[in-house]
């Protein structure tokens, strides 16, 4: 039975996240971008909303169950506040959710509790590689068997909080397939490079990481000997990025709409010109369509539908174009003012271009 209404519980979470995005993230987003950092207090406050904790069952320290739909709703709202902030707050999910989704019982028991039952700590994952045709299903980083170990070789980039990470998951190609491996802090052969600077999401500290003959015990492979199907993880990564794109686009749309209603031109408000009004109408339409597509993809993930992977892919495909279109137009509607860093739209445009490259930086 079709329904487009979040449950009461979901709505409560959404409301809490909205308050955080409005009162905590948005006010500091510009300074965080310029200063390339968020305060620990802001991140900790976001962590305490319990978005991740609510997706982890009680047995592993959480208080709910994983729902991609709930995750999408929460990320959409949080990213409205700030995308880099969302990625920072939710970074531990990059470590915890793949373990929940693909880990063995032992792995869940060992690794989830210390993440979930504590204050925010730097846990992360390394997926992205520094090639124009980076493909999560065809990684250059490789894992090979050596007795009771896997040996991992390769280079990753855009690994959030890698420098201080307590542990991370690294994805590598094993027998032609992408597999995740748990890498604890201090593992030999893991070299974290200088902080990597990007076009957008300046406030998210991210690093290149080199893996040189890194020996990982076989029990550290997600799912242990049996391994796992990376598809589920990739789908959840893609849907998360799509949801954040919706949130950012909503922010850019609302800001440029409100500006257009204030700004006078030729004796009327600029929003009263069809050239501007039609741009806004198309932005609103596109956001709503892609939003529903992201919701549907998430719903399919939760239900284990056959079409889930394809829909997640389509949702991200549409979301990256939507975010670019909407954020570009937001700058255009503000004209010269849009180009000035006093307004947030130039930042949303820089962040907005990133959704084509963010797969691996958030998960639901």
């Amino acid at each position: 039975m079709y329904s487009f209404e979040p449950s009461e519980e979901q709505q409560m979470l959404v409301d809490v996240v909205t308050r955080y995005a409005t009162n905590d993230l948005r006010p500091v987003a510009r300074d965080a971008d310029e200063g390339e950092d968020f305060s620990e207090a802001v991140i900790e406050k976001g962590w305490e909303l319990g978005v991740l904790q609510a997706s982890i069952p009680e047995a592993y320290g959480g208080f709910g169950e994983r729902s991609a739909v709930t995750g999408v709703l929460a990320l959409e709202e949080m990213a409205w506040g700030d995308v880099a902030g969302t990625m920072a707050v939710m970074a531990p999910a990059l470590f915890a959710l793949p373990i929940l989704l693909a880990g063995s019982e032992d792995q869940k028991k060992t690794y989830l509790l210390p993440v979930i039952e504590a204050e925010w700590q730097p846990y992360t994952a390394a997926l992205i590689e520094y090639f124009y045709d980076f493909d999560p299903n065809d990684l250059r980083t490789v894992a090979s068997e050596d007795g009771d170990f896997y040996v991992i070789n390769g280079e990753k980039v855009n690994v959030p909080f890698a420098k201080d990470a307590k542990a991370m998951i690294v994805y590598a190609k094993l027998d032609g397939k992408t597999q995740g491996f748990i890498i604890p802090d201090g593992t030999e052969g893991v070299q974290v490079g200088e902080r990597h600077k990007l076009l957008g999401i300046h406030a998210l500290p991210n690093y290149p990481v080199k893996f040189e003959k890194v020996r990982v015990p076989k029990k550290n492979r997600l799912g242990e000997a049996a391994g796992h199907d990376f598809t589920h993880i990739l789908d959840a990564l893609r849907v998360a990025v799509a949801a954040m794109a919706v949130g950012l686009s909503k922010a850019a749309f609302e800001y440029s709409r409100d500006y257009a209603k204030e700004r006078e031109v030729f004796g009327v408000k600029v929003a009263q010109k069809q050239a501007i009004a039609f741009m806004l109408a198309e932005m609103a339409t596109e956001i709503e369509g892609i939003r529903l597509l992201a919701w549907e993809a998430a719903w399919m993930l939760d239900k284990g539908k056959e079409e889930a992977s394809k829909t997640a892919y389509l949702a991200l495909n549409g979301a990256m174009d939507m975010a670019m279109m909407v954020s570009d137009r937001a700058v255009q509607i503000l004209g010269g003012h849009g180009y000035i860093r006093e307004h947030p739209v130039e930042k949303w445009m820089r962040d907005g271009r990133g959704f084509a490259n963010f797969t691996g930086l958030a998960i639901v």
Binding site: S7, Q272, Q274, A277, K310, N317
Partner: protein, 414 residues
């Protein structure tokens, strides 16, 4: 709880409708395109009898069946309707428009009529013979700007009849409603030309009304199976009770006009659903032809690695799905009595864009095959264009969405 599961009753009827689309529409689609103005009676009779036999309604003014005892089920009538419209338009958009039963005219009656009027005008669709209706709104000088309508209705107090004068163009299925079957049209006319929109009313003009003639059948780019006619009203007399809404003009009160406009909350997503049917047909055909040529679409691969054709197909699927979900959301709202002009118009403008992008790109991708009349693709390209025009052009719907999101009245954003 957010849910995208297709409701069981809709899934069931979809299977039936798909059979009709495959067997009764596709095989004759080319014929009724080549022989414009021929009427697909086989399809019409079949649909009429099937509808009667199943006791279901293909009407645009669906009636919710009241459950006796038991739990009250969530209303899904418009959700069911858009699903059927989508599939029938997948079969053939022109022949779909020849589906007998209550369409736009009935929707207007359902939205603005009294219970008595509904009884009088809508029962004819349940009779032995197929019956059509039509909406007569557009005039030579009044297209999207319906407030510029010049047709008039004057009450003759001696006979208690409305006397209608004016000329209506682009009336979809007007010939079938007035000449080929015993149907009716809903005519928009002013009862007080000095009052502007406040004076605008809709009237039911039944087949056989004196002074009402069908004068011209248009030759069109697409949807050729469907007749599009000019209707002339010369001192056309209809009973007093055929007015929809109040016969009084209340100054500074556009309730009558706005009331009629709320029908757009449902008719626009329904028309949008036609676009999705044409677009889905196009996409399926294009993928089939590509597969025959050994091209498979690699979903899940980053864009940088895709061929141009793969990227086109993936973009088409993305926009098609997003567009359909907007329609579902719009009718879900309408079913739950919280229809919004913003979502209804957004679904329509998006679908109009999407079907034209998809059909135009598909003809390009398939090269000489796409351009050939051996296949239906070139026809779908022609059929598609109407969806961006009727029931509010893409531009009118942008205007409506813009007004909604800006909180502007018509005078603030012209």
């Amino acid at each position: 709880m957010i849910d995208f599961e297709i409701p069981k009753p809709i899934a069931q009827i979809s299977t039936l409708v798909q059979t009709v689309a495959e067997n009764m529409m596709r095989p004759v689609a080319r014929h009724f395109d080549e022989y414009e103005h021929e009427i697909p009676w086989d399809y019409i009779e079949f649909m009429h009898n099937a509808t009667r036999a199943m006791g279901t309604s293909s009407s645009m003014a669906p009636e919710e069946k009241k459950e006796e005892g038991g739990e009250k089920r969530p209303p899904i009538a418009f959700q069911r309707l858009v699903t059927m419209v989508e599939i029938l338009s997948w079969g053939d958009a022109g022949i779909y428009l020849c589906t007998p039963g209550g369409m736009l005219g009935a929707a207007a009656v359902a939205a603005a009529g009294t219970p008595e009027q509904k009884q009088r005008f809508l029962n004819r669709f349940k009779g032995e013979k197929p019956v059509f209706d039509a909406m007569a709104m557009t005039e030579a000088g009044a297209g999207s700007d319906t407030s510029a309508i010049r047709a008039t209705a004057v009450l003759d107090k001696a006979t208690n009849e409305w006397v209608l004068n004016g000329e209506k163009i682009f009336v979809t299925a007007g010939h079938k409603a007035l000449i080929d079957t015993d149907g009716f049209i809903v005519v928009w006319a002013s009862i007080d030309p000095s009052a502007g929109r406040e004076g605008m009313r809709s009237f039911v003009v039944e087949a056989g009304s004196p002074g009402c003639t069908v004068e011209k059948m248009e030759h069109k780019l697409g949807i050729r199976a469907s007749d599009t006619v000019t209707i002339v009203l010369r001192d056309c007399r209809i009973p007093f009770g055929n007015i929809l809404g109040s016969p009084e003009v209340e100054r500074r009160d556009t309730k009558g006009f706005k009331g009629a406009m709320t029908t757009f909350n449902t008719t626009r997503p329904i028309v949008a659903a036609q676009a999705i049917g044409i677009a889905r047909a196009t996409l399926e055909f294009t993928k089939e032809k590509l597969a025959e040529a050994g091209v498979t679409i690699r979903y899940g691969v980053p864009r940088q690695k895709l061929t141009a054709v793969e990227k086109d197909i993936i973009d088409m699927e993305t926009m098609l799905r997003a567009s359909w979900l907007l329609i579902l959301e719009a009718v879900w709202m309408a079913d739950n009595r919280k229809g919004k002009p913003m979502v209804a118009s957004a679904s329509k403008l998006k679908a109009g864009d999407v079907v034209n992008k998809i059909t135009q790109k598909a003809v390009e991708i398939l090269g000489p095959l796409g351009y050939s009349r051996e296949f239906l693709l070139e026809k779908w390209f022609r059929d598609a264009k109407i969806v961006d025009i009727y029931e509010g052009t893409g531009q009118i719907n942008r205007l409506i969405v813009a007004r909604e999101i800006l909180g502007y009245s018509g005078s603030m954003l012209r």
